[in-house]
């Protein structure tokens, strides 16, 4: 069937088989290989993308159901500059190793920046608990998200004063 939707701000029209999930649609039909298929049964989070502004598991969405939808992938998120600071923090803290989970992790972390600006380390860990990373010990990822939240808080006076979240707990 034909669908028309907006992907990373660009309108695309494609014929899709109903059996195509969103991640295969993005990867195979649109060449957006930044999103990864890690388990294809909704557990690992490597395929996390935004649909109509909210993060979803790309492997648990039919592409055919997205006629008229707005989809943002890691490529679009990067190009928009929305999380350039977060991505820099990931690099600075070595919050990625093999990188296979990383685009999904960045999508999930971006959700924290948007909706949970006051998240502490425990809340960050909880919010990312559906995104599997086998390489890091998660700590660098939590550090990177916490550091970005702190930086943004400093630059947003109304939210300032929450203190430095970048300290390791227990220290």
């Amino acid at each position: 069937m034909m669908i028309t939707l907006t992907v990373n701000g660009e309108r695309v029209t494609r014929h899709v088989e109903p059996r195509r999930h969103l991640i295969d649609f993005l990867r195979l039909d649109l060449g957006l290989t930044g999103s990864h298929a890690g388990c294809e049964h909704g557990v690992c989070g490597a395929c996390t993308v935004r649909v109509d502004g909210e993060i979803v598991r790309g492997c648990l969405v039919l592409a055919a159901s997205l006629d008229g939808a707005e989809v943002t992938t890691i490529e679009g998120l990067t190009d928009s500059g929305e999380v350039a600071d977060l991505q820099e923090a990931f690099v600075a803290r070595n919050a990625a190793q093999c990188g296979f989970c990383t685009p999904g992790m960045v999508m999930a972390a971006a959700d924290i920046l948007r909706h949970h600006a006051d998240a502490d380390r425990a809340a960050i860990r909880e919010h990312l608990s559906g995104n599997y990373c086998r390489c890091t010990g998660y700590q660098a990822i939590v550090d990177a998200v916490a550091a970005t939240l702190s930086e943004r808080a400093i630059h947003t006076p109304a939210d300032a004063g929450r203190g430095d979240r970048t300290q390791e707990a227990g220290r």
């Binding site: 109903p18 909704g42 039919l62 959700d111 608990s129 559906g130």
Partner: protein
Amino acid sequence: MKWPALGYLRASSLDELWRALGDGAQILAGGQTLLATLAFRLSEPGTLVDITRIPELRGITVTGGVLRVGALTRHAELGRDALVARHAPLLTQAVPHIAHPAIRNRGTIGGSLAYADPAAELPACAVALNATLVLARAGGERRIKATEFFTGLLTTALEPGEIIAAVEFPLAGPSQRATILEVARRSGDYAMAGLAAVLDLGADGRIASPRLTFFGVGEGPVLAKNANAALEGRVLDAAAIAAAQAALEGDLDPPADLHGPPAMKRHLCRVLLGRALQSFTPATEQAA
């Protein structure tokens, strides 16, 4: 695995839905369970009928003395809705236990109830809150109590051609106490054992209408009749808790699973029962 070949239709109104629901068609709501199971290639799904854009199935309202939650209400919406927090706070408490944020952004309450996973939170909450499900079909609708809706392992009272349109919850009064507790290996996992506990606690400290409902320990939500009977009318104290724990033995028939044997699940249920009731005692409430 890749999904097997399937058909896809979108219904944008109930009328369209009734026309689409032919042989072999399956309802697709949030898809967070259905689509995951497709990857196992255990069945031929036939045609999926997407109901997510049917407006009649949406919305959260208080009407006629009940909280009506449209079947398409997503878990995330349920978790942040002010009416839900006020009138059915158990649901607000339950949402963070359901999987992970990306799943909660898609999964719906109607889908969760219709799938009737025995370890899922919302079916247990519906039973604990004594909810009524509004089932719609071509040419009419009927209401059914949650306790009668869940009929067995992954089975419900839904008939062919019928869907869940909404769920109605009695409004929580000031004496209602509600909590949801579970023992899960990791955050967001299905519980090894869970408890949705609802009761009224009078000014005199006496329990009324207890509805302790366990999940993850049977073929569906398990309303603990014996334990509830043991609590009815008693002052909530250590003796009442012990009596309920003793009575619970007759309520449960948990299957063994990868987590452990039935005896372990019985033990966990006793622990959860104790913790839930303890949290309602005046001493604990004051400490909190």
